[in-house]
Each structure stands twice: as C-alpha cells, then as structure tokens.
Symmetry: C2
C-alpha cells in the first residue's frame, strides 16, 4: 500500500507543501475542497470543475444515503462513476448533518436515531453503518463517525461528547479495517493494472463482464482523463492505493479536551486527522486557538484537515500554519446569494452601483467568468432570477478560493524540504 501523504516542504511557521496520493487522484496540498453535498457542486458542471483544476470534492454521506441511497450508488459502481467525477472524493461521516438537520435525534452509546428531513422516515446510524455507507459510496477518503459538539457547550457536555466521539472513532476504525476491501471500484482499479481496456482511460469505468451489473449498465462514459498515464508520475502506483480513513478531533472550545482527543486518536493510528466542531458560531480567535493547539500534536507524515472553513483570509491563514485540507460551502452558497469574493474585497453583485459596471467581477482574476462577463451582466442575471447567475457566481468564487491555495502552495514550495531543514 502506498502511504497516502507525502510532505514535500515545511516552513518555520509550520506551513506544509505536500501531496495526497489517493486512488483516483494525486492531490496537491494545501488544498481547498469544494462541497458537492448531493453528488454535485451546486450549479457547476463537472467539466468546469476539472478545468478550474479541482482535484478533490466532498460528498455528504447523510444526503446521499437518503437520496438516491448508498446501495443504488454501490450497484452503479460507486459515487465517482455515478456522478461522472474521475478525480478524488472525500465523504463526511454523516454525523454533522444528523446533528444539524434533526431536532428529534436520539443519541445512545450505540449510535443515533434520526428522522429524514425529506420524508420523516426513521433511520439509525452507528459508526459501523456510517463506514458501510462510505465504503459503498467508494470515497477516496472516509471520515470516522463523530458527534460534533455544539457551541457553546459546558465542560460536562463537551466531555461527554468527546467520550462518544473517541469510542465511535475506535469502532469506525475497526470496522473500516475489516471492510475497506469491499469498495465498489476495487475491481476497476485492479483491472486497470492489468490488460488495457478500451474504456480504461476512465478510472471509474467498470468491467463490462462483471455479472453484478445489468445490461442497461454496459455503457461507459467515454471521458478522457486529462491527467492520464504520463501526466501523473504516480499514476503507475494508483492501483495499489486504497480508501483512507480520517479521525475527527473534537473537544469543544476546551484546549485540554482537544489535546486529549488528538493524543488518543493519534495512538489509534488513522490515515489522517481532521479538526471538527469549528466554525460553529465561535469567535475567529477561538477557532485559531483550537487549531493551533491541535496541529503540533498530529504526526507530520499524515494529512491534517480542518472541516468547514472558511473565509478567504481564513483558509490562507490556516494553510500557512500547517493545515493541508479544508472544505466549505461558503464560496458556492455565498455565490447563490450574490456575494462575490474578489481581490478588491467582498462584492454584493445585487448592488445598484454595478448596474452599468462593465469591469469584470474581479479585475485581477483570470477565471472564465472574469475573462468573459461584466459585473453589470452578473447583476442583471441575479436580479432577473436567472439560473445562470448561480453558475457564473459559483465558478468565480471557487476559482478565487482555488487561486488562493495555488498561491499558498507556490509560496510554500520555497520552504526547505523537511530533510534539508
């Protein structure tokens, strides 16, 4: 098995230039991961994400479990193939949505009972079930099932929540180790190692001989992988890569609880470590304090992921402190609500001042939206309620986030490699 993370360079401040070696994609870090809640980054087609250079997206286990369901997705060859996304995917554990979308949930040591926000049907999630669902979806990175501690929380409440998260992390890991071989694309990758197949240019393609797939499924999307053999130096190893499981450090806003949680999880030896329960309403200084507390405790040879952040200045700040991965709905959600992030600051594209402004959304941006459309046109689309508004605004905001991370990666490359340091 290939280790999933390579540290390439590290700054004195802790910033890390690295590389995630995932089954479907080698991902350059630090990386910002767009959120594709229901198997789509809202309003943005997959080929646009590719051309923006997106290497990894998120899928939400809770949403995909409820609709269309993990079993149909497994039968169709996994999430990559279902949504026609040949690059990497990370799925969350479903825990966050179970807690945030369900007022009537019932938590026991065994798991969480909740009602679907779609139809009120009753469901029970355990750590084992969350892992089963994530293996069925076939994400490159799965997350351990956790309880996200709300803010504010008393110390007693945070301690109790932490106890649950650590017990569930252990169960998630044990179940993952026993079953991660059941990933739906495993045969596809092995196949890829062997005799070339006409459709093998697409990692997500399945073996047409496979009896598990019916006749209607013999179609293989003929999408060329732009990063195919030759363009990716690690491509030849890709078949030996497997799903990874990351743990989630909780502990509320209590530094000692965070420390305790990180140390216990590191002992369990996960493939990577996330810091969760942040960006839940606390002041920004507290977010930074928790991240700074936890990062030094995490092993240098494993990736570190801060969940659910953040604003453009935040993701740059955290990346320079040593965070390798971040995700947030902010760029796409803000886009749908007229908020554009630009090098000149935030811009509410609904404002009347832009009604005849023919400059691009961000004059310093090279994205396809800024190269083609004006503020006046984007304002018109938003005011007219046109669906193209969400698409163009989202493309720009994502491009803005991705460009920040590209700049950070470039600046981190000038740092000494860890071996020279």
């Amino acid at each position: 098995m290939t280790p999933p993370y390579q540290l390439l360079a590290e700054t004195a401040a802790g910033g890390r230039r690295g590389r995630l070696l995932l089954p479907h994609q080698t991902v350059e870090t630090p990386v910002f991961m767009p959120v594709g809640t229901q198997g789509t980054v809202k309003a943005v087609p997959q080929d646009t994400l590719e051309s923006l250079g997106v290497e990894i997206i998120l899928g939400n286990t809770y949403h995909l479990y409820l609709r269309p369901g993990h079993e149909p997705i497994r039968r169709m060859g996994g999430l990559h193939r279902f949504i026609s996304w040949p690059r990497a995917i990370l799925t969350d554990s479903g825990g966050f949505q179970v807690f945030s979308l369900n007022a009537l949930r019932k938590v026991t040591d065994d798991g969480v009972q909740f009602r679907s926000h779609l139809d009120g049907s009753s469901h029970f999630f355990t750590p084992e079930h969350s892992i089963d669902v994530q293996i069925a979806l076939g994400a490159d990175i799965c997350m351990a099932f956790d309880e996200c501690t709300e803010y504010p929380a008393t110390r007693d409440r945070a301690e109790e929540s932490l106890r649950l998260t650590m017990a569930w992390a252990r169960r998630s890991l044990d179940h993952f180790r026993a079953h991660c071989g059941e990933v739906p694309w495993r045969n596809q990758l092995e196949h890829k190692q062997g005799v070339p197949h006409p459709s093998s240019a697409w990692v997500g393609s399945h073996d047409p001989q496979s009896p598990a797939l019916g006749p209607a499924q013999s179609w293989v999307p003929p999408v060329p992988r732009p990063w195919g053999p030759g363009s990716d130096p690690a491509q030849s190893e890709i078949g030996s890569r497997t799903q990874s499981l990351f743990a989630i450090v909780q502990g509320g806003m209590y530094r000692d609880l965070r420390r305790q949680c990180a140390e216990r999880l590191v002992e369990m030896d996960f493939d990577g470590y996330a810091i969760g329960g942040l960006s839940v309403g606390e002041p920004r200084e507290l977010t930074l304090e928790m991240i700074s507390e936890v990062l030094p405790l995490l092993p240098k040879d494993k990736p570190r992921y801060v969940m659910g952040v953040g604003y453009p200045d935040e993701i740059e700040q955290y990346a320079r402190l040593g965070v390798d991965m971040m995700d947030c709905v902010l760029p796409t959600r803000a886009a749908r609500h007229a908020l554009l992030f630009t090098s000149e600051g935030r811009l509410n594209i609904k404002n009347k001042q832009y009604s005849e402004d023919q400059s691009p959304p961000d004059p310093a941006c090279q994205c396809p939206v800024c190269r083609r459309y004006s503020r006046a046109y984007l304002r018109h689309l938003m005011n007219a309620g046109e669906p193209l508004s969400a698409t163009l605004n989202s493309i720009h905001n994502l491009a803005y986030y991705l460009a920040i991370m590209q700049r950070v990666r470039t600046s981190l490359e000038s740092a000494p490699t860890p071996f020279q340091a």
Copy 2:
C-alpha cells in the same frame, strides 16, 4: 450593403439550404434559434452554446426593455457586448409578450398601453418605440411590431387585428429605415474595418477612445472569436452588414387573410418575413396549413421565419417545406420540467425506471451531456432539486434540436442549386 440571405440549394418540396449574412455571424440555414429571453438562454453558459455550434439566439425586447432597460444596454455597447455573445442575435418586437403577459393592456391604432408584470408600472409601446428599443439593443435582426392574433378568433377580430399589424408594419419599416444607423455597435464594426485594434478580435468590443463610455468601461472581454478572419469566407464583408428588419405575417387561421397579409408585406419590401400567430393552441394541421399557404407567396431571395415552433418533428417538417428559421422555448423549458427529447422518443427523466439506468439520456446523441452523464444521475439531480439538472437537461435538448437541423441542412445540400434547377 450585403444582401442578408443567400439561397444555396432548393428541393422540389421547397426545402432550402441557405445562409444568413448577419453583422455578427454568418448563419447556416435552416436554423433553430435558442431563446434567451432575458439575455441568457436559461441555465446554459455562453461558451457552452458556442461549443454546441449555436450561431444565433433570440432576445426578448419586452423583457430586456423592462429589465435592465434598453438605454443601459445601449450605453454598454448593445446586447451582444452586455451578455458577451459575439454571434448573431434576433430580437422580437415585444408585441407577443405585451399581449400574452398583460391582461390589462389597452390597444389603440397608435400602440399598446400595458403594465409591467414586474412592478405594475405603466408603459406605452408604439411601432416606432419598439424599433427604437431594438436598435438600442443592436440585434442583427429586428422584428416589426405586430399584434399577435389569439386563437380562436372570429373573422372580424382577425381582420381588425390584421389591419393593425399591417399599419404597424409600415410604421416599423419607415422608422427602421430612418434610424437603423444608430445601432450601438456601428462604430465598432467600422473600426474593425480600419486599423487593427488589440481587442478587435471581438466584434462586440468598443473603441476605448469613445467619450460615450466611462472609465469603468475600459475593460474589453478578451474572448477570441473562433470564427475570426480566415475561418469565415464572408468575414471581410462583415463590416458592411447592417441590421435587418423582418415583417410578421398574421391573419389568424384564415387562409385568405394570411395571403392578403403576406402580399401586402412583400410589397413593402422587408429584409425577411416571419409567420406569426402560430403555435397558439391550434391543431397542428392548421399550423401546417397556414405555413403552406404563406410560404409560396414569399420572395425566394429573402429568409422565412416561423415563430415559436416547435416539437422536434415539427421543426424538421417545416424546414423541409422551406422554412429557414425557427425559435422555441420548448427545448429549454421542457428540460427544466424533466422532459428530454431523444432519438428513442420523449423521456421523463423523473421516472423511477431510470433510477439505476446508467445509459446516457440518448444513446445516439454525441452531446457533452450524453457523453458524460447517465439517466440515473440526471434523475437524481432533478429529484434532488439541484440547479445542475436544468443546465444538463437544457444542454442535451438544445443539442438534440441543433443536431436535427444539422441533419436537415446536410440532406438539403444534395438538392440542386437554384441555378442548376
């Protein structure tokens, strides 16, 4: 001035293979024109339309007049530049929307008083005003202001409506001839004929020296024209092309009224002729009867346009009878309501039978959606209310319509040229 239409070949049944020589684009006919009501073909980005081969789109004068307004669009260099669409645009006269969206309209010989469907504000449209608005928008083809006769209509009502339409056609033409030189891109095209300008690759770009444009408007979208000099044999003449004005043949479902209208309008000598007031609820045989009545009366050296049609089999049928241009919201509107047109028939993508169907929407289609995505995924997007659903469905339906017209054009090319016949 270049004549706006070239007839290349004609079949015994009347089918015509031709070419529209418009200021922003040479358009191969017969052509289907996607509708971009509010300056956007709903849910489809402009670069996608280009890659699908769309050469001309529609804009709705009524909608653009109300929002963002024709004067702002004129100040920004015209509709092409405002929406960043360098190919051809046709604008309707606003008449159809005034009548269909306004229960409280008041018609006199002078024009129509109506209330905005957006804010209830009062507006008055005359033929002259409609033409002024269309010149400000700068469409390649303008339409004369008409009254679209409803269906069913008594003979008296149809006669009265026809009288109005013919009087308004005369006034539209006189006003157009007096003012068509005021089009916002006129200087841009003249400029293009002279010294090359760094941004002249984009016809819609303006002269940065123009005092009419403020400092914020010095930005020029650097969109390369894929059909620039060299790729379009008529490119060198493009600067001499001007806006065209088409008349609209009305007359309800009365053959003699249609004939009378066509003959009078032809005497006035418009650049092209549309057949309006069809697809308004009448049976399909009646639509065909009216089209067949009018077509032989129209001059062979002018383009013929049937407005607001139709289903895939209809547009093919009419094109083979000699209709050069058609437009319809159907492919994009149906797409947003889950209806896909395919070589296997109509397909309601919401149906449960597609929940695990991994075949493409249309196995015979080569569009980017059919090459990448499955029915199961499109069904999921629709059921989950995802905005990508409208985008992908619309792209496929438009591609399906465009492919029909491409096939028709190819088959018409085997007909003898009119000179050999």
